[in-house]
């Protein structure tokens, strides 16, 4: 009896805390469905009287939100695929070959994680400028096509693959590239999935780098887009929140769908000590 009470209590506490955690998101959604007169009442009202979608229409006309979403989507997709491919290739080299400088190169790649973004951002901006890549997809994607964390994750996974697999394929006359493309890559689906979801979310949420390398409306991404919307619409909170909801929807959906894979990938090998 006491156990059941304890369990119900725990459940209730979790529900309350969980709702508090996502409260800002629910709040944004509710505000986005309210006309201005409801938003500016005091005391503040939370439940909209009816579903008011004019905010969404206004947001779409006030700023090129669909362009921003398209740009972010394309960039995030390119970066995700790029990171999976380059990380798999590098991890393949580190797991299945012996070569001179293997240890040094591996440490050198991991060391890139130690260099914070701020230290390279100014020089990267100048490099992109001198290459004439400002306001282009190249500037938004190419610097991020490789990820040290991705290499680390993939290598951890490849090291668990049985050596017999490699030896058997060699006996069958398979060259290294065929082995990589036809056996290793298909087997990497779980870890590639985790890395993919993580890369997509991180790229979708990027703020500082797109802010620096884009200035034209047509090339900006969603995060800069909503801050532009907020600046332009100022007190029209309904419109601003509508924009935010539209931008949050893809990332939250992807998070919910890939949640288990994402968490498994993030925590694999990170906590054993």
């Amino acid at each position: 009896m006491q156990r059941k009470l304890k369990k119900t209590c725990l459940c209730v506490v979790n529900i309350i805390l969980g709702l508090i955690t996502i409260a800002p998101l629910l709040y944004a959604l509710l505000i986005s469905l309210m006309p201005p007169d409801q938003i500016f009442t005091f005391p503040p009202k939370l439940i909209p009287k009816s579903i008011y979608i004019q905010n969404y229409k206004d947001a779409l006309t006030s700023a090129p939100i669909l362009t921003f979403i398209f740009n972010s989507f394309l960039v995030s997709l390119l970066v995700t695929i790029g990171q999976i491919v380059t990380s798999s290739m590098a991890a393949f080299a580190f797991s299945f070959f012996e070569f001179k400088g293997k240890k040094v190169l591996f440490i050198a790649m991991l060391a890139t994680m130690m260099i914070p973004a701020e230290t390279t951002i100014i020089s990267n901006y100048l490099t992109i400028g001198s290459l004439g890549w400002l306001d282009s997809y190249k500037a938004l994607t190419i610097p991020y096509l490789c990820s040290a964390m991705g290499i680390f994750m993939m290598r951890q996974y490849y090291l668990t693959l049985p050596k017999e697999l490699y030896e058997a394929s060699k006996l069958d006359g398979c060259n290294n590239f065929k082995f990589f493309a036809k056996i290793v890559l298909p087997l990497s689906k779980p870890v590639a999935g985790s890395l993919g979801i993580y890369s997509f979310l991180v790229t979708w949420n990027q703020y500082l780098w797109p802010l620096l390398v884009t200035s034209k409306d047509s090339s900006r991404t969603v995060q800069i887009g909503i801050s532009m919307l907020q600046f332009a619409e100022n007190q029209s909170f309904g419109i601003i929140m509508a924009g935010i909801v539209m931008v949050l929807l893809p990332s939250i959906l992807i998070f919910i769908i890939g949640q288990k894979q994402l968490i498994d990938g993030m925590t694999a090998g990170a906590v054993k000590g």
Binding site: I22, M89, F97, L105, M114, E118, I121, I122
Partner: protein
């Protein structure tokens, strides 16, 4: 006859040479894409930033003079820079400690055989999918002095963005909200690795919950807590979106953390030399703190 044999032998040797050249270069070919990108966009810019910190430039970034350490000396003499360092350190401390505590508490609350555990995990981890820009804009409305929920629900009359004290707190709250979920994820996994027998034997010995927490859970979690602390501190040092959108470094420089100061110096004042020097100093501070933490780890962290 001998000629043909020697030609065949020569051709075979050439083939073998080509094959062995290929097999030695093959691994490097797989590494090439990553190496190229890291060299161009991580190593080269790092060196270039160090170089830029020792020069002055014109507005477009072309080098005009080599000035040695004078950028650094000017920074250390500048009140604004010292303020940035202090604000950054304050910000890191104010955000890291509550983030870890909240992550720990929520992880402990779901560390059992609850029915809707997956649902709660989704709720507690969801801020991970939210960008700093979105969070900043939503929280700005929540902190709105007249129609915001925070002032209304807590019956306060704080001018969140007009007070230098509360401005930093507001930005920190947003950062805590964004980071606690990451701690939740890692600590939950860390809790899973604690052997169940320890709980059972403690239960048999009649130990209360807080005793179990202190003597079993925390020590076994210490590698996770150590890892999470490093991640939080690094994230805090690199926070930009919230500050740019919510306060722009104000009011009165009270939220002018180092990253924001670097951004302003480089892209508004076009002082690339000074900004580069600042980013090298930031790097040195982060490196120093990380090294100190590893030193601390040797003494305090318990490994199985």
């Amino acid at each position: 006859m001998l000629e043909v044999q020697s030609v065949i032998a020569k051709r075979t040797r050439e083939k073998q040479l080509k094959r062995s050249v290929f097999s030695t270069t093959e691994p490097y070919l797989y590494l090439l894409p990553c190496l190229l990108i890291f060299v161009v966009f991580t190593y080269f810019p790092f060196i270039k930033t160090i170089y830029l910190s020792l020069v002055t430039t014109n507005a477009v970034g072309d080098v005009s003079n080599f000035v040695g350490l004078s950028n650094y000396i000017e920074l250390f003499k500048s009140a604004s820079f010292i303020n940035s360092v202090i604000v950054t350190l304050k910000f890191v401390i104010i955000t890291t400690i509550p983030s870890i505590i909240i992550g720990l508490v929520t992880a402990l609350l779901t560390n059992n055989k609850l029915k809707f555990k997956g649902f709660f995990t989704t709720l507690y981890a969801m801020p991970m999918a939210v960008s700093s820009a979105s969070a900043a804009i939503i929280w700005m409305l929540l902190f709105n002095p007249s129609i915001g929920l925070i002032n209304y629900l807590l019956k306060l009359k704080i001018g969140w963005f007009t007070s230098s004290f509360w401005g930093l707190i507001a930005v920190s709250i947003v950062s805590i909200w964004l980071n606690a979920c990451i701690n939740y994820i890692f600590i939950t996994t860390g809790l899973k690795n604690i052997p169940k027998e320890l709980y059972e034997s403690a239960h048999i010995d009649g130990a209360g919950y807080f005793h179990v927490l202190k003597s079993i859970i925390i020590p076994y979690l210490s590698p996770t807590l150590f890892f999470v602390t490093i991640i939080n501190i690094i994230n805090a040092f690199q926070s930009f979106g919230q500050i740019n959108i919510m306060t722009s470094g104000g009011p009165g420089e009270s939220t002018n953390v180092l990253v924001f100061s670097i951004y302003r110096n480089a892209f508004f004042n076009n002082r690339f030399g000074t900004a580069s020097a600042e980013s090298i100093i930031l790097f040195a501070i982060m490196l120093g703190i990380t090294l100190i933490q590893f030193r601390f780890e040797k003494n305090k962290v318990f490994y199985q």
